[in-house]
Each structure stands twice: as structure tokens, then as C-alpha cells.
Amino acid sequence: MTSIQMPQLGETIVEGTILKWLKSEGDQVKADEPLFEISTDKVDTEVPSPVAGTVTKLLVAEGATVPVGTAVMEIDDGSGAGGNGASAPASAPAAAPAQAATPVAEGPAEAAPPAAQTQTQQPAAPAPTAPAPSTMPDRGPRSGILSPIVRKLARERGIDLATIAGTGEGGRITKADVLAAAAPPAAGTTVAPLPSVGPAAAAVMVAAPSMPAGQGEEAQPISHIRKAIAAHMLASTQQTARAWTMVEVNVDRLVHLREDSKEKFQANFGVKLTYLPMVTRATIDALQQFPLVNSRLDGETIVTPRFVNMGIAVSYDAGLIVPVVKGADGMNTVGIARAIADLAARARSHQLQPDEVQGATFTITNPGPYGSLLSVPIINQPNAGILSLDGIQKRPVVVEDDAIAVRSMVYISMSWDHRLIDGELATRFLARVKHNLETWDFAEDLGL
């Protein structure tokens, strides 16, 4: 079912008057056939149909004046119940297909397959018989032009192009449109069924008080990715018993090492040397010493992997994503640096594969380069903890013999799940990370 709305004909036009219905309930319509005549304070026009089908309902009377975006008509185009509507081509591009309208479960204890899980299956199994749009709805003179990359991505990710309204010239579906429709779900929603992640979170989200945009405000619908991130963050906060510990680390030696050898490193290995790979390596050792921090809680079972898949939080244009360095315990610092650089670059260019954002056993976030001093991250479920590497600063500190000297210091902290681990363990874990960073000689591990 497609809902037809009063179209937006210009930013300053806020309402329109239905002058005349050109179709009645029960009439057949073809794509782009005029449905009704409107008059606004700027222009008059007839509004064409975005789809072919049968008019099922006229929701507004002739002569009525309604705000832009109001549903005025319903057309049965064979797209099934729950479709939330293309509007006339003049409006903003149609929202996601049916999966966005999965019914919201009532009880949080239900393990109903969440909307998020449907998203898991699609990218993981590109069907050779991916739905080929037999008729593309006319959303503009160029909406039928499907470029090679658009077709390839649709095929690989099992996307029905008929459900995407293109933002390119003349309504053309662009590569970016397809990628936005098929973004790998944010980490956490892709792991095996979590009890009531999607629907419960969605229920709470939906229940928030509505405050639509008013005078002087802009409105835009949130992207799939933002929706998935929101659900994941909310679920994590609600389901984990989150506690937080911090240590202060003297990274003076690391700073000097990096300053001295970053150019050589770049020349030798083709990637920039940052602190993140070194901290990652130190953390992996700590995880091996304290395997419980690398574990997850599955119902009433503690699952402890013998390997470390390190999730690295990356911020990019669409929001936040956590690509995973698989088997990070088997890599030296150079390998970790390379893996992180590669994943981050491909994250930012939207080229990660679905399996590259799944399976983290622990996660590190690094807001330091953006200027933070201290952060309290949200645990990337189902991990037991998430470590934050914040900004390195020169500070006056007390050194040997109670003297005061200037050293490069950094706060490293961890949010951890108190259901799984306790304060002593969390603290000892962090102390180990600190010890590693303050005592290891990274030069050899960096191939310098």
C-alpha cells in the first residue's frame, strides 16, 4: 500500500488545497498519471502517482487545505501491508521498505526476531535470485536508469531497487542511495539473537514524546544506520550493569618512540603510526591474562573465546561503526596498525563486508585525537568491556625521588559489565594495560 502525501513544492510552501480529485476510490492508476489538482499560495499543479495500482482511499475532501506531508490518498500497488509510502516524486525520498515497519513487541522478555535481525540475513546472503524489480515505479524521468554499480550492489545485497527513491538527477538511483539502503548494521545488531534488542528498544524509542519541527527548525528522517546505532546503544545501557574504571598511564616513552620513528614507519609500512595499535597490542596481552574480560554472557553461560577479535570504533559520515580486527591476538603491532588503517579507510568509504563488523570479543574506542580528556563509553554488546583511549597531554607529575617533571600522560578507562566481572578484576586488567604501556619496548615490535 502506498500512501500519497500533499507534496512539498518548495521550502516555504507549507500547505496545499485539494482543488479536485482526478481519480475516485476504486479507479486504476498508471505510474505518473495525475491523481489530484492542488493549489498552494505559490503555484498550482496536478500531482502524479508514483506507482501503478488501484486507488483505495481518499482521505481528504475536495477544497480541504492540509499541511505538506499529510496523507491524502491510499493506493494499493501490490507492495503489501505496512509499506510506509512513497509520496509524490516532489517529496523527500521514500523511507526504507517493509522491514522498517516490523510490529513492535510488547514484552521485553520476548525473543521475537527483531527488525535488526532481518537486516542481518540480507547482506550476509546475497541471493542469486535477488528481487529484480519487474516494474520500477516512476519517480522521475531518470528513475529507471540503473547504473552498473547500482545493479551490482543491489544484486549482492539482495535489495529490491523498486523500494528506493533515487536522489540523483531526475530521480536516478545512485550508488550512494543503494549503500545507504543497505548499510552494514551497526555492530551488536549483527550478532546471534540478543533477547529483545530491536523491538523493545524500538518500543521505547517510539514512546518518546513527539515534538515535530517548528518555526526556524529543520527536520529530516533518521537514517537506517542512526536507527540501528540508537537501538544498540539503548539496549546496551538497559541490559548491562555498567561500571567504569580509569587509570592514568605515563606514555612518555611511547611519545618519544613515535616522534622518532613515525616517518620511518610510514616509509616502511605505508601506514601512519598512531598510539592506537600500541594500546591495542597492550590490551590484547591483558585480555590474555584476564580472559574473563574477553568473554560474553549468553543467558546464564559465560562464553570465553580463546582468540581476540578486537573491535575498533570508527566514526564516519553516516555515524559510528565498529569494524573488527579478527585474530588480533596473532598479530604484532605492525600487523595491527595495518589492519586498523585498512578497516578504517574502508569503513569511511562504505566498503566493509558484513562479516567485518561482527564478532568482536572486546572493543577499543579512541576519541583522544578529537580532543577528549576522559570518556565513559557504552559497552559494545555482547562484550564484557570497552576501553577508551583518550587524549595524551603533557602534565606535571611526581617522578622518582618525589620530584616534579613534565611527562606525556593519558587517561585510559574502561566501561565494564558488572554482571560478568567485578571491580578488582577490572582494575587489575587496566593495571596490566598500564604496565605494558609503561614498560614494553615497542621498537622491536614495530620493526624499527
Binding site: S147, P148, I149, V150, R151, K152, G168, E169, R172, T174, K175, R348, S349, Q351
Partner: protein, 348 residues
């Protein structure tokens, strides 16, 4: 990359080209070429140089200043104005085991030796099994108000021959590394030095005589996500300038410098298109049959499934290079033209 003007002439700073670097150790494109020649002449006594005015005069552009004094007249030979003979001599010498570097005073004059280059040099090894490691080098390209007799981009003519590797570096470090590779390569090679860049571009260039840049390897000179500009020679710098402005408009352009125009590094080009899905091929050789026409074909053929828009080309028309400055400016792609082309490509 800095593009400051260094004092012209650079004469009298010392015979060795390295003595002609700027105070902070940067080398102009011209000095980088001179260093490559000098180092290879020092490294291998089979390397010889010939050309018009390269010895006593030090070269029309002063690239070979000081070479005659250092290496002597047996290895640095002034020739008459006889391009066909220059090439023929080089082929003969190569057959005898020398490694000749033949200079053309302007690339435009290469066609006086066209037959010797295409019928003889490019085919000799195929016909006889004897290697002819000849390096042809010449200043090429326009934009310097030198008009149609001194501004040609000859690379398409000689790429057609099929037996000659052709390089068109845009940066001094690439120029040095590539020329050295060319001299050490046993195949016939053509090394085209864009005359508009000789003194206008400088950068830090390796002093390691063993530092080479591989032939047929392209380089991403500016990473980007939205659009790929594949280009070479002086156009690389215009593309980079356009990319800066485009970035301010929210369009992230990746600039791929081919460095070698025959055979091209297809893999780097295709990898870039896989990322951006939009290609603009920018080239100074003429639109029809110029190097970019080939690059566009390769992209269409081998990266078809990654394209979100048709492959676009931007190049001057097949027309003599104009002499009048406003006409020459209108003839060559300018930064504004590149921006407009990228805008059109992004909006497709």
C-alpha cells in the same frame, strides 16, 4: 607539493646538479632530471648521451650543464640538427652494447626521426632478438606560449608503435626515479619532461642513487572518495588544485597520476574506480586518440560494474596548439574546466 619559481638558469652553481638544489635541499623538476642523468652516467660507463647543444651549451634548457666537463666528449656528444640520425646512431650504439640517451631539443622535433623511432627502434628487438636499450628524452607539452611547433604532446604517436615504454612524470621525485629506471631498462623508452614543470615545481627528492620509481606504476597523489581524476604530466597539478576547491564544495576527488602512459598501470586505476565509481580522464594529449582515450576504454571495459556514471574525458581538441595566450588558455583544460567537469560528473 610546492610550486615556487626557482631562479632560472641555475648556472654557475657548480657542475654537479645536486649542487643546484635550493637551500633547503629541494630539487626542481629540471634538477631532478639532471641528477638522474648524472648518477646513471657515474654508475654505468656504458651510458652515453647525445643530442643537439647538450655538450658545450649545456642543453637548451640547461639540463646537461656541466656534463661535458665531467664525462668528456666521448660520452656527451653534440650532434647536428638531424633527428633521424640521432635515433639511428643510438640504435646502432645500443646494438653494440652501449646504453644511449638521445635528447630531442623539443618533443616536436621527434617526428623528424619518426621512421627511425617507430619502424626501427620500436621493432628491432622483435625482428632480430638484439636488445636496444635506448632512452629517448625530450621536453614536451604546452601552456608556455611556445605555440604549435614547441608544445606538442607526442606520446600517443609513439605509444601506437607498441615497442617503447613511455613515461610522463609530474613530480621531481617521480622524474628522477623514473628516468633512472628507464636508463636501466633494456627496452626502448621515451621519457617526456613537461617543460612547463621544469622550473615551476620543486620538492624533496631522494639523494640515494639507488632509489628508483618502477615503470608502469601509477600513484594516488591525492586520496578521495567521490570521484577519480586519472591524469598525468602538468595536468596532475591542475587536477590537484581543482580537487582542493572541490573539497570545499564537499566533493572529495581522488587524483591518480599515471606516471607511465604506456603501458599503463591498470590495477591502480581500476582500484580507484572501485572506490569512487566515477571517472574523469584528464589529459593534455589530444582528445581523439590521446592517452586518455585508452584509459577511458580500459575503465569502461574492466571496471564497468563499478561505474555509477559514464566515464568522462577532458582534453584539448585535435588542433594545433594556439600561439595567442587567450587562445592557448581556452585550448588547454584549466582548473575551472576540471571543476566544472567534476561537477557534471558528480551530478549525473
Amino acid at each position: 607539493m610546492a610550486s615556487t619559481t626557482v631562479e632560472s638558469g641555475a648556472a654557475g652553481h657548480g657542475a654537479e646538479p645536486r649542487g643546484k638544489r635550493s637551500e633547503d635541499g629541494q630539487a626542481t623538476y629540471l634538477i631532478a632530471v639532471a641528477e638522474a642523468l648524472w648518477e646513471e652516467m657515474e654508475r654505468d660507463e656504458r651510458v652515453i648521451m647525445l643530442g643537439e647543444d647538450i655538450g658545450v651549451y649545456g642543453g637548451a634548457f640547461k639540463v646537461t650543464e656541466g656534463f661535458l666537463e665531467r664525462f668528456g666528449p666521448d660520452r656527451v656528444m653534440d650532434t647536428p640538427i638531424a633527428e633521424e640520425t640521432i635515433v639511428g646512431f643510438a640504435v646502432g650504439a645500443a646494438m653494440e652494447g652501449w646504453r644511449p640517451i638521445a635528447e630531442f631539443q623539443y618533443s616536436d622535433f621527434m617526428t623528424s626521426g619518426f621512421d627511425e623511432i617507430t619502424t626501427v627502434l620500436s621493432r628491432y628487438h622483435y625482428r632480430s632478438g638484439v636488445r636496444t636499450p635506448v632512452v629517448l628524452r625530450a621536453p614536451s607539452g604546452g601552456g608556455v606560449r611556445a605555440s604549435s611547433f614547441h608544445s606538442v604532446n607526442p606520446e600517443p604517436w609513439f605509444a601506437y608503435a607498441g615497442g617503447i615504454k613511455i613515461m610522463c612524470p609530474a613530480f621531481p621525485s617521480d622524474a628522477k626515479g623514473l628516468l633512472k629506471s628507464a636508463i636501466r631498462d633494456d627496452n626502448p623508452t621515451l621519457f617526456l619532461e613537461h617543460k612547463a614543470l621544469y622550473r615551476r615545481i620543486k620538492e624533496h627528492v631522494s639523494e640515494d642513487p639507488a632509489a628508483l620509481v618502477p615503470i608502469s606504476s601509477a600513484a594516488v597523489k591525492r586520496p578521495g572518495d567521490d570521484v577519480t581524476i586519472v591524469t598525468y604530466g602538468a595536468m596532475v597539478h591542475k587536477a590537484l588544485e581543482a580537487a582542493d576547491t572541490l573539497a570545499g564544495r564537499g566533493i572529495s576527488a581522488e587524483v591518480v597520476d599515471l606516471r607511465t602512459v604506456y603501458p599503463i598501470d591498470e590495477e591502480t586505476v581500476i582500484r580507484s574506480i572501485e572506490k569512487t565509481s566515477r571517472a574523469l580522464v584528464l589529459y593534455e594529449s589530444f582528445h581523439f586518440l590521446g592517452i586518455g582515450a585508452e584509459v577511458a576504454s580500459v575503465i569502461a571495459e574492466k571496471a564497468f560494474e563499478h561505474l555509477d556514471a559514464p566515464v568522462m574525458r577532458l582534453a584539448p581538441p585535435n588542433h594545433p596548439v594556439p600561439f595567442s595566450p587567450p587562445l592557448e588558455d581556452a585550448f588547454l583544460p584549466q582548473v575551472a574546466d576540471i571543476e566544472a567537469a567534476v561537477d557534471r560528473l558528480s551530478a549525473w
